[in-house]
Each structure stands twice: as C-alpha cells, then as structure tokens.
C-alpha cells in the first residue's frame, strides 16, 4: 500500500473487474486513450489481475483516502539496463476528475519508482488533446520531449502523440528525496 496525500495505491484485486469494465466501456473516459473497441469484462482483465507486482510490471488501484476506487496506475515496459519504465494512468470515475487525485497518484507512484525500484527515468505518452493530463504531468515534473506527428487515429482524424519524461534528479529537485520514511507529502 503506497500512501499519498489524497489517495492510496493498492494492489488490484479480481473484485475490481466490474468497475474497470465500466470504465473502459465509457467513451467519455476512453476518448483520452487508445481503447477504441467495446470491451468484454475479461478484455482488460490485465488492468486488475495477472502476475504479482514486480520489477517487470506494476499495476495498482487508486483509492481515495475514504476508500473509493477511482482509477488505476501502472508501470510498464520496465527496462533493467536502461533503468526506465513507462507510466499509465486512468481515472475512471468521472466525478473524481480535476480534484488533484491524478497528480497525487502519479507523484506517489514516482516516489516508489525512484525510491524503491531504483529507476532512473519514467516516460509516458498522451494524446495531444488531453490537455488536462498534460498540465497534471507538468505539475508532477514531466517535460515534453517529443511529439509523434499523427501517430494515433481516433475520432475520424490523426492526432499527435506527446511523449513526456522525468528523470530522478528532476523529481527529487521538485518533490524532495524520493524515499521518505512513513510516506511523503506528495
């Protein structure tokens, strides 16, 4: 269990399946992702179930401090030599948007990635029109590194994909030491 300021991150459970199923079938949610197709309950089961969390893949449920399961966050394509990983996040409960939960979840996971997994770099990719997310990532310390032109086709046209990254030093300059005894002030 990773404690943030507004959220906690816990391991996903099979019982989370139904909630996730509703998120990935909500076009208002999925418009920001590359999830295009109507999905069966088992299609996105990897978001909640699979091998135990480890260096190769981390998948966590985002819960408010009151215990409401609002989204998921994960690290993927973890590379041991390059000490890097990609970050993905979904806030599936729309009522929870724009309340700071996303930034808190991201910073909490970054603290784990740098302070416990000993990673050097975290990157992410986001659609150009997901401006709320980009503002959130910038607040967390991510910088735009590349713009893959017309990389994704959705909603009838091509869109750029924005690549952002954050290095360990940059995280610590902004948020303080990655490892903080008893959890940090995200």
């Amino acid at each position: 269990m990773l404690e943030g300021r507004l959220v906690r991150l816990r391991a996903t459970e099979p019982a989370d399946r139904e909630r996730v199923h509703s998120w990935v079938n909500d076009p208002e949610v999925t418009r920001y992702f590359t999830m295009r197709y109507p999905a069966a309950a088992d299609d996105w089961v990897w978001l909640v179930d699979g091998p135990p969390n480890g260096f190769g893949f981390v998948r966590l449920a985002i819960e408010t401090k009151a215990g409401l399961h609002i989204g998921a966050v994960n690290l993927y394509q973890t590379n041991a030599e390059d000490s890097s990983a990609g970050l993905g996040i979904i806030i599936g409960e729309k009522d929870a948007w724009s309340k700071g939960y996303g930034a808190d979840a991201v910073v909490t996971l970054l603290r784990f990635a740098f302070g416990e997994m000993n990673l050097h770099r975290i990157w992410l990719r986001t659609l150009e029109y997901n401006e709320r997310a980009q503002a959130c990532y910038r607040k967390c310390g991510f910088q735009e590194e590349a713009r893959l032109r017309q990389d994704v086709y959705r909603h009838g046209r091509y869109h750029d994909l924005v690549v952002m990254g954050i290095l360990r030093d940059e995280f610590e300059a902004l948020h303080g030491a990655a490892y903080v005894e008893g959890g940090g002030d995200a």
Partner: protein, 183 residues
C-alpha cells in the same frame, strides 16, 4: 563477444560439451567450486541445451577463450537483481595448464566492465573458499574487497571451511579500470 587483453568471452555452444564434461568431473578443478558430484555427460548436455539466452534476468554464462581461440574455462554473472543492481560472479579455469597466467583476472575485468558498463550494475559480489588463496589474490587485483567471512559455511574434503565474501562497487571499478571503454 567481449574482448579482453588476453582473452575474449563468448556465449557457450553445444560443441563445448566435451570440454565442460571433462572439467566438471576433474576434482582438482571442482574442489575450488561448489560442484561436488560426478556429473554425467547426458546431464551436462541437458544443462547446456536448456540454458536460457544471456540477458539481464537470466544472467550471463560465457566461455573464456584465449586470443588463439582455445576454450579454457567459463565465467558467469548470476542472481542479477534489478532493484539492488547487483550480481554474483563465478569463474572456472577448467584447463589447468592455463592457471596462474593472468587469464582469470583478464576474464574477470572484462566481464565486470560489461556488468558495470552495459548492464548498469552497481555492485558485483562473489564467494570464495578460504583455502583458495590464488583466487583471492586474483580477485583483489581486479578490485574486489573482502567484506566478510561466513564461518564453516562449506563442507568438503572431510571438514568445514569458511567462505570469504568479496565485493566490488562500480565507482571502485571505474577508478581502477575505467568503465566507459570502447565507445
């Protein structure tokens, strides 16, 4: 292929079986290693065949060849841990006529340079029996520091022996040998 000064390190091949089989059944060689039991050619063949490819998760198992192409032993990095960025080192010079000629040290420095410079490790450790003084001298020359002694940790030749634990850190290796080589 990893290039050293006296040796090069390459992946093991099925053709290495005969040499491997001879060395691991030679008690004069294996008394310095943790292999005790006579091993069949079939078992060794199976081990060679089933070995996964060299990579970060599985570690490295490499043949040591002289510059003339003679396969004289093996060196390996094992128990590679991505969070702790560490690995264990093992080495065997199976062909006894090549002992005490600097081949071991050259193989070690070459694989350490790979571990630090390509695998991005921070620490490499090893265990060595207290009676293997030649190896301990070799490891120290390569930059290893004695860190501890596990008392009576090994039983062989009729009695208990201490196991010496040694380690080298990236900064130490870099100061001694340089990590950024061959860019």
């Amino acid at each position: 292929m990893l290039e050293g000064t006296l040796v090069r390190l390459r992946a093991l091949e099925p053709e290495d079986l005969d040499r491997e089989f001879t060395w691991i059944n030679d008690r004069e060689v294996t008394r310095f290693l943790s292999m005790r039991y006579p091993t069949s050619r079939a078992a060794e063949e199976r081990w060679l065949r089933d070995r996964p490819a060299n990579d970060f998760a599985n570690g490295l198992f490499l043949a040591i060849e002289t510059r003339d192409g003679v396969h004289i032993g093996n060196v390996n990095l094992m128990e590679v841990n991505p969070e702790d960025r560490k690995a264990g080192l093992g080495i065997m010079i199976g062909d006894k006529q090549y002992w005490a000629n600097g081949y071991g040290a050259d193989a070690i420095v070459t694989v350490l340079r790979f571990g630090f410079g390509e695998m991005n490790l921070n620490r490499i450790w090893l265990n060595v029996f207290e009676f293997n003084e030649r190896a301990q001298a070799c490891y120290k020359k390569c930059g290893f520091v004695e860190e501890g002694r596990q008392r009576q940790h090994y039983y062989g030749q009729g009695r208990y022996w201490d196991v010496v634990v040694m380690g080298v850190l990236r900064d130490e290796f870099d100061a001694l040998h340089g990590v950024e080589a061959g860019l």
